[in-house]
Symmetry: none
Subunit: 423 residues, 2 copies
């Protein structure tokens, strides 16, 4: 097996160190690298500083096969990538008359005269290969330094993309020799990260620790698998890993595509020709909003009642005043009545009910902030869970919505299984 | 003048080197640094690798007064920031029993048992100060290295933000010696960016081009002002700029705090002792969800009817079958009937109605994707707008919700003005 190529990305530009912009050119580069099994190992942003750029170039060319630099090739005084590269590698800078003529020609075609400052863009560290950039004024540059190849590209995304396609892609293709790298993601709902970690622990030993990564969000975890090698080999490896992990994690895996829970629930509802409606209090419509994010959700989503007040819980959902009085709005009884009420009144297969204390106010000793009751009413009855959720208002709402959707998914699967068994 | 403090930011996590995620925690750090005139000089992303982290830590602590590291403090085997820091600075790692107990207690409060792996989170490089993290399990850490101070923070944004506020902000304040830089934001709804740009053009000349920045999102623009200098001086400057910009932009400015539209609408509803309910089709509950994001929204938000099907538009909102037949579900008449219907049936002061084609399917020549009708029903009658919105499903839904909330805000202001004039 060929050793995977290692790459570093250096984004140059003081504007990328401010409060409202991040480098995204590196994502374009990473997408290209992944296709050829090359690994992005390090991304750095520095300002328009000769010393900062030189230093990083020296460090990256020591460690990586490929170094991509974006930005700092413009005509103004703060565009110093060429100068910094020449300095780092001890190269003289030469004014290339062919580039001067090319830039002047580009200006003429736009009906303008080349400004004096644009001459800077024709400076080339001795020995660098010039990379033609039909989408902009300045060319890119390619240099060799020890075992490392350095590409200097403009920071403008479409110029960078054009040059990557014309020069970096063939470079990668040649060196990859058919080998590649591929990822797959298992999505898991409502399992704590540390618990999942223990479940999948055996797989670290079997497949190597670096090949499996866990990414946690509130009530949702992505387990990412990576495999390298020739296409068939790495696909097979991913199939094996995926099957093993599904085995270790069980039914909590809701997708092996990188898709949200509401999309999976929507697919099962569609195949089972079922419909759904929600009755929401503390989530304020979030569950309905999530279900309807999915294009085509009108096939199974009928509607929702958001009942913030007790008055509306009674009027719209038929929750009994006595139930509210005796147990309070945040209670198992009310969640069940909401789920059943919306199921019955909107005449759907599945009704979801959510009532809780999202905070920051409204908590009590008996029902602190984060107390949420969720219920799923279906053909076989009503399921209920009482939750005690950590975090702030937003996080409590997101987790509640995730958990009720996961309960619906499990109920749909159980029902499908029973149906299959009885037929 | 004191030499500006220099800072570096190291984001740790292999997921930040993939194709679909970028580090954004550094933006949060930069925002804080700017307030104290400190300069972000270098941002680096590395994977979960002990050697890559150690190497970068050594390099940054040589150059910068402040080094912020985010991520890699979790409980799993790929969380190696603690280990890498100990290695870089030649420190022993010690298991801190007080932290173990604190984590165990946090788990107990959530009704769960601490997993064995969470013990890792209690490892501390000798001599490090422990930074209490009430929003998550693992504490942050602070170390001194030569002239440099290093903060290790969790990668979860809200945990990072909490720790920055509690520990880095006081650190910066102490060292800044009074001089600072401050920003203020005017938020503007539903004005095209180019139109706003023309409106505020005079202010560029008066205050300097660099002191005003426009940031556009769908149906929402932030106009950011920056002033530097001693506290009183820069505050005064911001007051002057803010007044001038409000003058140029007019009523479209909905806030000079960096707050969302639903919070402003909620405040006006509270003062005018009014209530609101929504009737939503294409937004699927998004408007209700936004209104209830605001803590305390139960004071004015009564509920919502999400009526995806025509059946429910009739049943729940009293929209006439004939109106639906003659004009179609996406029409001015239906939007008006939805707004009035929910206002009347839920007995609230204001009813909002939204019906449209969010796509990707469902468009026609007459009503292409992006056609949305919004209506606001209030004490003085019903206002309606027909929208033709660009973008994908999500963007159409977000813009629709923004525009209907802005219509409500304007209606509330008009009503308040009329009341004031008639009294």
């Amino acid at each position: 097996m060929i050793r995977p190529m290692k790459a570093g990305f250096l984004a140059v530009g003081s504007e990328l160190l401010g409060v409202d912009r991040v480098d995204t050119n590196s994502l374009r580069a990473t997408t290209l690298l992944e296709r050829f099994g090359a690994e992005m190992c390090r991304k750095v942003v520095v300002g328009d500083s000769v010393s900062a750029i030189s230093r990083e170039l020296l460090s990256m060319t020591e460690s990586f096969d490929l170094v991509i630099v974006s930005g700092g090739l413009g005509p103004t005084a703060d565009d110093v990538t060429r100068e910094a590269t020449a300095k780092a590698f001890g190269l003289e800078q030469i004014l290339d008359p062919a580039i001067v003529e090319d830039i002047a020609e580009k200006f003429r075609r736009m009906g303008r005269t080349m400004a004096e400052v644009n001459q800077r863009q024709a400076l080339v560290p001795r020995g660098a290969q010039i990379l033609d950039n039909p989408r902009g004024t300045a060319p890119g540059l390619r240099l060799e330094r020890g075992q490392s190849t350095v590409f200097l590209l403009p920071g403008v995304p479409r110029e960078l993309e054009g040059l990557m396609r014309s020069y970096i892609e063939p470079w990668l293709e040649e060196r990859a020799g058919g080998a590649g790298r591929e990822t797959r993601v298992l999505k898991v709902a409502c399992v704590p990260e540390s618990e999942l970690e223990q479940q999948i622990h055996p797989a670290y030993g079997e497949f190597g620790r670096e090949s499996i990564t866990i990414l946690a969000k509130p009530a949702e975890i992505s387990v990412r698998m990576v495999a390298t090698g020739p296409r068939e080999e790495r696909r097979q490896q991913l199939d094996v890993m995926s099957a093993r992990l599904r085995d270790l994690i069980g039914a909590a895996v809701y997708s092996d595509q990188d898709e949200p829970l509401e999309a999976v629930v929507g697919r099962i509802l569609t195949t089972s020709e079922a419909t759904v409606a929600t009755a929401e209090s503390c989530t304020g419509g979030l569950v309905a909003e999530r279900l309807t994010r999915v294009a085509g959700s009108s096939a199974y989503f009928e509607g929702a009642m958001v009942t913030y007040s007790n008055r509306l819980k009674m009027k719209l959902l038929g929750v009994e005043g006595e139930t509210l009085d005796r147990h309070g709005a945040v209670s198992e009884e009310v969640a069940r009545a909401m789920a059943s009420g919306v199921r019955q009144r909107l005449a759907v297969t599945w009704g979801l009910g959510i009532t809780g204390v999202a905070g920051p106010g409204g908590g009590s000793e008996e029902k602190p902030v984060g107390t949420v009751h969720v219920a799923v009413a279906g053909p076989a009855g009503v399921h209920h869970r009482r939750l005690q959720l950590p975090g702030d208002r937003e996080r409590i709402r997101v987790q509640s919505s995730q958990i009720v959707l996961e309960m619906l998914r499990r109920a749909l699967l159980r029902q499908g299984k029973e149906r299959a068994e009885s037929s």
